[in-house]
């Protein structure tokens, strides 16, 4: 278990708000979110539909912008960064796994996994790209499907490719949005087992799930309701330990 008292946070959110404004109404998707994620953490975010889980994950992944509040990643405040700077952080530090896989059907499995490396600066050599892509595919046991197109694979296989893509750039953190949402229970178990192994190897994981069975895989569980973090069971127990 990571000693949070002594280590520096990988990600810190302070007083984060997210408000969606339409013509005649405002929706507070997130209110006063304060949380920190440390290296090696395995964090789950649960809650009923519409509670703001995916919104929170999108903010963590720099895919969306908070209405107010502070977001620090590796100590750097992201509020004043340009779009390209945020893109660079996503590319270097964040691996995102989507519920709907979000693979590009028109390119091969290999090219899908290589996509994050394509955007890396300075450019990697073809050999380096190949090594990292194959290594990533081997981790998810999909190296034999390199030349296939995503729509030729099953749901479970597509999700494993999505995981490989998220891992290829050796990110600081994996953000996982309902990884088993589109899978049957057997494939869901397989994907969860994969994530568990990755965390054991030291990968930091933050996962959104509505399934309490899968939420229990995480060491730290956050519950969200109406945009507010209800409790932080693991954090409370950690603080108790420290005391």
């Amino acid at each position: 278990m990571t000693n949070h008292i002594t280590k520096k946070a990988l990600i810190e959110l302070k007083n984060i708000q997210k408000v969606y404004s339409k013509v005649d109404m405002e929706t507070h998707a997130l209110r006063d979110i304060n949380m920190s994620i440390y290296e090696g953490d395995y964090l789950s975010i649960s809650g009923p539909s519409g509670c703001g889980k995916s919104t929170l994950l999108s903010l963590l992944g720099l895919l969306d912008t908070p209405t107010s509040g502070s977001y620090l990643i590796k100590g750097q405040e992201v509020a004043n960064l340009t779009a390209d700077d945020r893109a660079e952080i996503r590319n270097l530090h964040i691996g995102f796994i989507f519920q709907a896989f979000n693979l590009i059907d028109e390119i091969s499995v290999y090219d899908n996994v290589a996509l994050p490396l394509k955007y890396r600066e300075p450019k990697l050599s073809a050999k380096e790209v190949d090594e990292q892509v194959m290594s990533s595919l081997e981790k998810v046991e999909m190296q034999h499907r390199c030349s296939h197109k995503p729509n030729q694979l099953s749901g479970g296989q597509q999700q494993r490719i999505a995981i490989a893509r998220a891992l290829v750039g050796k990110p600081s953190i994996l953000l996982v949005d309902e990884p088993t949402g589109n899978l049957d229970s057997k494939n869901g178990d397989l994907v969860m087992a994969l994530l568990d192994n990755l965390n054991k190897e030291g990968t930091t994981i933050c996962m959104v799930t509505h399934d309490p069975r899968y939420a229990d895989h995480a060491k730290i569980k956050l519950n969200l309701l109406d945009g507010i973090i209800l409790d932080n069971i693991a954090l409370a127990s950690t603080l108790q330990e420290a005391v």
């Binding site: 992944g61 895919l63 390209d84 893109a87 590319n91 989507f98 709907a100 996509l115 955007y119 750039g169």
Partner: protein, 811 residues
């Protein structure tokens, strides 16, 4: 029926919620439909619709061609030959002679120069001429009857005679001759215009009074022809054979000139419709092709708009599929919307077509034949309805093809989070490539047409036409002797020179540029033909007045003019041609000075000078500026005024009233007005092609932007994925523009290939309308490339500028 009405109401209500889609679709389609319908009506009139004369398909135009060795000369007729055929032919049911001319209507106060036709009596019956009052010509006006009757037009009757109901029996005076009005021709008469550029006779007179030589072979005339009506089961070939057997033997005996090995006069007969339309059918087809291409571009635009609309209606279509709707139900739904839009576009298109036709009639009546008959008739409306139905079905069909029914069902089973339909890239690329290909092709064609028009419009005349006037006088019969004519010429010159503001004045048979020309052959001492050149007779001050430079030798002097000398001056191009055919062909123009050249009849002319060329827009393609000048004393004048001084007809009339009361003004125009008339058709061409080109550019811009924007909308989800993986904006833009530009480049390439093929084919038919100009073509292509790049950039920029999550959620 109630169900259908309900469906229509629902569809209309649904469309009312997307005003942008409706307005863009209707705007694009109605404009192009309007242009297409007008072009269709024009083509239908020129190519398919029969002439408005009884038994029109049996009518032929009878013209002659002079064959001289390898050369062919057409466009002018021997009256001798016409009359011979008229009197002795047996193969025609009827034959009429026509000679177009003009004369001063001396019985009116203003003595206007009036267009008229000398006709044989069969003319009116053959053409079914509607008579408003009185009668047409009958056997009373047969050839050699010398009965001085006249028919006037309804326009003349209204404008000059105040719709006088007692007009029949009144007299008119044309030149020195008096005629009795026997009838008024209705304004609905469509006078056949072919051998004369403008068919707008105001008076018809009997053939006997044309006053031209119809006994000898000395003269040919371009404003005359004969119209024949084929007997049943008789062919044009048979009539031609009869003409050749009747006329050529007599020509061989009496009409040959020079020593060309082979000379013959042969029939050049064709059906009247083809003769009237001539090469204009190619123009009409070109206009129709242009309109058709515009419609294709518009259709590609609209298909793209329908795709976007289908994407918007995805949810509604999914729900219908859930409730059991089959493909045919979805098709009906989409087709109803498409039909409403197409119908609205057709209605507006018909209105636009009507306006376009009115505009065409008012501005292009000098350029295209039969325009007075042009209207939006039942055929055009039927075509519009058929086109509307076809287009609506095509749009609906294409849209439905792209909505995969199975995909709709599968969408019901997905959570719908962040899923975006990904349209096959081949379809995307084909749409873009076709847009670019069509638009580029249209722009290339319009640029070739515009280049040609600009070449003519901007071509320097070789002299300054500002402040230059042409005055033709009708001296009547009062000066029968050559010496009296010459004295009159000198007296007129002296008096005209006294007018305020006159800088230079000279006598000449014709203005420096004009419609038509007098031509004659030039031979060397071995009777070898050096050329067939147009000529003008001038005095000693002509080149000074017009502003032409003497390049070698000299101009005429007063002695030459007094003596009607046998000296000749050549234009630079004529001199160059003569040199090329003389000796080793390498001489200089100075070498021609003092050389003798010969007429067809063996008269000797001595070359005394070479002057700079004149560019006559009317016939430059044929003559290339080759001209000859002879000296003579005339009663036609070319007058150069000082800057700031304007010469008017009133000034001339005042002077004539004071000093020469019996002399009338035949024609008075400024040379710049003549220039304007000569290039009018090119100006019209320029403006039409400019409008067409801009319209094509606009449609292409809308289309390309729409397609690329649609592409970017469809790829929004994919772009969101790339952004979420860390792709920076420049990188995405470069990739997106690069990928989008591949089909654009393919479209360009294909259009260039098609353009080369079309140019090679079309050039031989409509060479006079096309000119190759790299600057013009490059400008058009550059404009299109800029538009294509902008169309690629802006839609993608919009997506990239927002947060990736919005793209992933397809917000």
């Amino acid at each position: 029926m109630r169900l259908l009405i309900n469906e229509l109401k629902t569809t209309a209500a649904s469309l009312s919620r997307v005003p942008g889609f409706v307005l863009t679709t209707v705007f694009t389609l109605s404009l192009t439909l309007g242009v297409l319908l007008a072009a269709f009506s024009l083509n239908h009139l020129l190519i398919f619709k029969a002439l408005p004369y009884p038994d029109a398909q049996q009518l032929i135009l009878m013209e002659q061609e002079l064959q001289e060795g390898e050369r062919r000369f057409s466009g002018s007729q021997y009256f001798v030959a016409q009359k011979l055929m008229y009197q002795q032919q047996k193969s025609l049911d009827a034959m009429a002679l026509v000679f177009r001319s003009s004369a001063i209507l001396a019985s009116l106060r203003e003595k206007p120069l009036t267009e008229l036709s000398y006709v044989s009596p069969e003319y009116f019956d053959m053409l079914g001429t509607p008579i408003l009052m009185g009668r047409s010509f009958s056997t009373q006006e047969n050839l050699d009857s010398n009965k001085a009757s006249a028919l006037i037009s309804e326009q003349l009757w209204r404008e000059q005679y105040g719709e006088d109901v007692e007009i029949i029996g009144q007299n008119i005076i044309l030149g020195e001759q008096q005629y009795k009005i026997v009838g008024v021709v209705s304004a609905s008469f469509a006078e056949p215009g072919n051998f004369a550029d403008d068919a707008n006779s105001q008076i018809w007179l009997p053939w006997d009074f044309h006053g031209q030589d119809e006994e000898t072979w000395n003269y040919v005339y371009s404003q005359t022809a004969a119209i024949g009506k084929l007997a049943p089961a008789t062919t044009i070939a048979q009539v031609s054979d009869e003409f050749n057997s009747l006329v050529d033997p007599i020509f061989q005996q009496n009409g040959r000139v020079g020593t060309a090995k082979h000379q013959a006069i042969i029939a050049q007969f064709q059906d009247l419709q083809s003769a009237i339309i001539g090469d204009n059918k190619y123009i009409a087809l070109l206009i129709l092709l242009g309109a058709g291409v515009l419609l294709l571009i518009a259709c590609a635009n609209i298909v793209n708009l329908f795709f976007s609309r289908a994407a918007q209606r995805q949810r509604a279509l999914v729900i219908q599929a859930t409730l059991g709707a089959k493909l045919k139900h979805l098709f009906f739904n989409i087709w109803l919307e498409s039909l409403l839009l197409c119908t609205a576009s057709m209605v507006i298109g018909l209105i636009i077509a009507g306006w376009s036709i009115e505009l065409l009639r008012s501005v292009a009546s000098h350029a295209l034949p039969r325009l007075a008959e042009l209207s939006l008739d039942l055929t055009a409306v039927a075509f519009a309805c058929l086109l509307t139905l076809t287009l609506s079905l095509i749009f609906a069909f294409i849209t439905l093809r792209l909505i995969n029914h199975k995909q709709l069902i599968s969408q019901l089973q997905s959570s719908g989070k962040g899923t975006g339909a990904q349209i096959n890239s081949k379809v995307r690329n084909a749409l873009v490539a076709s847009q670019i290909c069509l638009a580029t092709l249209l722009l290339l064609v319009t640029s070739l047409v515009m280049s040609n028009a600009l070449n003519v419009l901007n071509h320097p005349l070789g002299f300054d036409d500002e402040n230059l006037y042409n005055l033709k006088l009708d001296i009547g019969e009062g000066y029968p002797e050559k010496e009296s004519k010459m004295q009159l010429s000198r007296d007129l010159l002296i008096q005209l020179q006294t007018m305020n503001g006159v800088e230079q004045i000279s006598r000449a048979s014709n203005p420096p540029i004009r419609r038509g020309s007098n031509n004659t052959g030039l031979f060397n001492s071995d009777n070898v033909k050096l050329g067939h050149f147009s000529f003008v007779t001038i005095d000693d001050n002509y080149f000074n007045t017009v502003g032409l430079k003497v390049l070698a030798g000299r101009s005429y002097n007063q002695q030459d003019v007094r003596d009607d000398s046998d000296n000749i001056v050549l234009s630079k191009t004529a001199a160059t041609k003569v040199i090329a055919d003389t000796g080793d062909g390498k001489g200089k123009i100075e070498d021609l000075i003092g050389q003798a050249v010969y007429s067809a009849g063996g008269d000797i002319w001595t070359v005394i000078g070479v002057v700079s060329d004149v560019y006559n827009p009317y016939n430059h393609e044929r003559t290339q500026g080759a001209m000859m000048y002879f000296s003579s004393s005339r009663t036609n004048f070319v007058i150069r005024m000082q800057n700031g001084h304007v010469l008017t007809k009133s000034d001339i009339l005042r002077l004539l009233d004071e000093h020469f009361a019996e002399i009338k003004v035949w024609q008075f125009t400024s040379v710049s007005d003549i220039h304007e008339q000569l290039v009018y058709q090119k100006q019209l061409t320029l403006w039409l092609s400019l409008v067409l080109g801009l319209f094509a550019l606009l449609l292409a811009a809308i289309g390309i932007y729409g397609v690329i924007s649609y592409n970017s909308q469809m790829r929004r989800y994919e772009l969101g994925i790339r952004m979420s993986l860390g792709a920076k904006s420049k990188r995405i833009l470069a990739e997106f523009i690069g990928e989008s530009f591949a089909p654009i480049a393919a479209g360009f390439f294909l259009s260039l290939v098609l353009a080369v093929i079309l140019y090679s084919y079309a050039q031989q038919h409509i060479n006079q309308w096309l000119s190759f100009d790299w600057l013009m073509i490059s400008s058009c292509l550059l404009a299109l490339i800029v538009i294509a790049l902008a169309a690629c950039y802006f839609p993608a920029r919009k997506i990239i500028a927002s947060d990736p999550i919005q793209a992933l959620r397809n917000e």
